[in-house]
Symmetry: C2
Subunit: 278 residues, 2 copies
């Protein structure tokens, strides 16, 4: 993203490359996040934003969060950082409200803070930055199909059994502990979602084949990225993560579904500043 101060007040999205997204600030997640920040800081000010969007919206890997987080981080930088990084989260959450109807912090918090984050509560906002085990690498496959947010929500049951909820509390607590302890075995045992995954995975073609293939290739665990259709796996070390990528590829190249695969260590810092153009 290229962000510049502008003489004109408000947010002016000058161009969006590689994806077909609305230019009007009120209809664009970057625009909405920027406007929320201006509203809190000084509505008289203005910014120009040029977006080169490499992530396809609706992938489940935080496309909207990336735009919202990048916008507010860039604007904050150009204003001399009047807000702390944590204070930027609520502005970026307004972008999520536009994107999916709910001002959640699940993606914008890690996009801004980096690493793993835990959203204890959104009202009031209470975010914990968690440590990132050094050797952890993510492999993500994005099958290029559309999973409608409405469908991803509709398949979830409104109630869960107390037994399953208790089991999942155990997994959540142990997962947090594993990040602090850098205990990859515990992380692997805890990376289990017995609640949302069984319901939502029916919307993702070849999900169980992917899970089996990732495990066979040595992944610590895998799951649905966001509300899908992307599927992530976590591995210890780049070499295993690459094998996991090959395993994912071999599942999907037998199908007619186009796909992208990404491999990345967990980024410990959030939004990066590439260049100061002033």
């Amino acid at each position: 993203m290229e962000i510049r101060r502008s003489e004109k007040s408000g947010i002016d999205i000058t161009s969006i490359e590689r994806q077909d997204l609305p230019l009007e600030a009120e209809n664009n997640v970057a625009g909405v996040a920027g406007l929320a920040m201006l509203e809190a800081y000084n509505p008289q000010l203005g910014f120009e934003i040029r977006i080169v969007k490499n992530i396809k919206p609706g992938s489940g890997i935080g496309s909207s969060a990336a735009s919202a987080a990048g916008t507010v981080a860039g604007m904050n930088y150009l204003l001399g950082n009047p807000f702390s990084t944590k204070e930027l989260i609520p502005f970026a959450m307004e972008g999520e409200r536009l994107a999916c109807g709910s001002a959640h912090a699940d993606n914008v918090a890690p996009a801004l803070l980096g690493g793993f984050t835990l959203v204890r509560d959104t009202n009031p906002l209470d975010i914990c930055a968690l440590p990132t085990p050094l050797e952890l690498v993510a492999t993500v496959i994005h099958p290029k199909i559309e999973v409608k947010t409405a469908d991803a929500r509709a398949v979830l049951k409104k109630r869960v059994t107390l037994e399953k909820a208790i089991s999942q509390w155990g997994n959540v607590g142990a997962l947090v502990s594993s990040l602090y302890e850098e205990d990859y075995d515990l992380l692997s045992r805890s990376l289990v979602d017995g609640i949302v995954e069984p319901a939502r995975s029916i919307l993702i073609p070849y999900f169980s084949e992917l899970k089996v293939a990732c495990e066979a290739a040595g992944a610590l665990g895998s799951g649905i990225s966001g509300s899908g259709p992307s599927v992530f796996a976590l591995s210890r070390g780049m070499s295993t993560a690459s094998k996991v990528a090959q395993a994912m590829q071999s599942v999907f190249e037998k199908t007619t579904i186009p796909f992208d695969i990404h491999i990345s260590p967990i980024k410990k810092t959030g939004v990066s500043f590439i260049e100061d153009l002033r």
Copy 2:
């Protein structure tokens, strides 16, 4: 507890002081835990156990776990520690099976390991020892009324809303993080039970008055100890914990219900060995 090797095989409970509990090993949590350990190690061996029981059974502060954990830790010591502390947990869990019908590790794991423990799973057993913030002190009030286990279970709903479950996952994860970070404010915000407490607290007289009084006295948080009727509060420092004890006392001295109050820092080690009598 006094535990001695015996010529006679099996577990011989020679006396129980201060509480009225069965002496037959098969009907006593200490006996059952000890027998489970002998079964795994060598059923020909024998131990004598004398129990001086200062905790009233059914208090919700882990009376049965104390007996079970003490027995297996003492026997293991006398045998030259053939088992690791974690390996002792399943034996002590058999005592819990006798006490409440379910071989759970919620109390025996911390009784053996000390500090905070998280039970990720019981089948197979997966226990995480968590760090203990240094200044944390517990205040516990034990109203001397009986809460029947059957009632404590019956009031729980079999299902919880996904919304509440998600909120509680946030609290569990944040609570674990707060222990690692020694973040008392986060611990305070996370020490919330929106699932079991609202249901079970109806069985505990003056529960909401206690909670309000603990908070007013400066406690970080409070809740039901085990399945009740005891209520615990956690505070930062002994001085606040003492004020919380006074606050608890002032709630209950207006009633006709007899009660005990205990104040203790969180013990970082489990079962202690007081003296080697050999």
